[in-house]
Amino acid sequence: MRFTPPRLGPGAIYLRSLDSFFRSNGDLIRVAEVEPQTLWTKATTADAIPAGSPAERRHLGSLPQRVLTHGVGYPIGGTICDQKDHISEFRLWNRELSVCWTSEHLSVLHVRAGSRVHSCGFLMPPIQTDSGVRLAAQNIIQRRAALDLPFAFETGVNYFSHRDDELPDGEFFAAVAEEADCGILLDLTNLWINQKNGRAKISDILSRLPLERVWEVHLAGVEIERGYWVDAHSREIDPELVAFTAEILPSLPNPGAIIFELAPERVSSFGERAYLREIEVLNRLWEKVPPREASAPAAPDRRRKSNAGDIGPTPEQWEEVFALRMLPECCRTDAAATYFPCRSADEESFSLYCRLAESFRSGALAELLGNTIHLLLLALGKDPLKDFIAAYVAATPPARFPTDEVVQFQNYLKQNPLPIAGLDDILKFEASLIEAAANNTIVRLTLNRDIDRTLADLAADRIPGPSLDRPPFAIEIGVDPVPFIRAVPEEVL
């Protein structure tokens, strides 16, 4: 396969909160990279398959930008790699948005523990051995066939220090790309972070990559967490990284897009002016992309000739370690990992990974159960609330979709009740909103407090008082055709 991506230009990750911004800046933002799964909803039943809405696809289809898709949640670096459940929806989005290539993470997300499969709660790095190369390449070949679309993998961040029994990062990425005959999404921020954390020099990595396979570049802002530089998508691109990117781009013969990434919860604090400045930076960088040669020289065949050096853990053993270190005790099996290569530096890395995974889980609760969390904060205080959430995280497995996290937290609170006036009602109310949105159904619930005054009290940082108690009354919540909340007349009760 020799796919040459069209020159689409500079762009950014699409967020719902940025929709009108994208529409009014089509001249500067020429590519909207959509992460479809972030726009899908998973129903609250355990085996539900996430899906998006046709109306939102049509809405995205009217963007002034060319659209690319970037998968999240179904990485291609592990032994558990979905090639079925999410494919038909993903194909539908690619087709309706006229996507010309797609991408996913060269990472591990799901691991086995006994007979069950659990999410680690965070994208973990794949094992960088020859067997890891073969596994990733097979996954990519299958995914590309299932999607019937050119495919690129993203070069990931890796918070572990380099191991003697693994391939160097550049050699590993190159081997996967050649073996799978696919494209590379060169996330320069990830590689820059790996360098700043002492894992691998970015120049070494680039010297080993088949640069003609780089179809896309990602850039984002970084920050420090627990002594590590992390890929936080939190701010402007570091000027040092901008300068480095400007040096690299002229050596890439086939880039199709350069994309700025910002996390959704950072948008409001980042601001429109700062966002525009980053887009202008990308436009200036794009000018460094060399003109495409009329007849590009044939790429050398860098296919690996042998499996020499295939030492170290197997992918299965590598994932056993993740199951042991990333899953809560309730999900682990009694068997210890047969290969347990933990060095002292690895302990620090696992501590960071667990902290980051916990932040995603607690963040999902804060975003979807904001008033419940606020009531817990007012009633318990900051540190006891943090302890309560930490206990919840330690006792339950991570969920892939936040709707499942809400259901799980609601069940946990039922099993671990807290004597806080109004908590039952506010949790029931917020969980019902999620249920109505996730299942696209009308949810009826009975409350014992004036919900609006309860919410007003919370907004004013007041613990809702007993004066808000009232005889039980019912409301209905729905989202179709438009979101609504309505009281149920007494005669219907």
Binding site: L18, V72, A232, E261
Partner: protein, 67 residues
């Protein structure tokens, strides 16, 4: 910077105000999807619990962090 603009319709008896509830419903609708792909810390819970910004002092040329 604009925010999600899904409209919301509320039908309630005159003696019951659900305006706050409707705002909460509108605010969660855009957040039920899979998290985006970054590999850093999600600050939503930190912001909810302690909105005051953390001040970090980073020694130049090192990774040593002092809070």
């Amino acid at each position: 910077m604009s925010h999600p603009s899904k409209s919301a319709m509320v039908r309630v008896p005159a003696n019951m105000n659900l305006e706050q509830a409707q705002h909460v419903l509108a605010s969660v609708l855009g957040k039920v999807g899979h998290p985006t792909c970054y590999s850093g810390i999600n600050i939503s819970f930190v912001n909810a619990v302690d909105p005051s910004p953390m001040i970090l002092n980073v020694e130049q040329g090192s990774l040593k962090v002092q809070e």
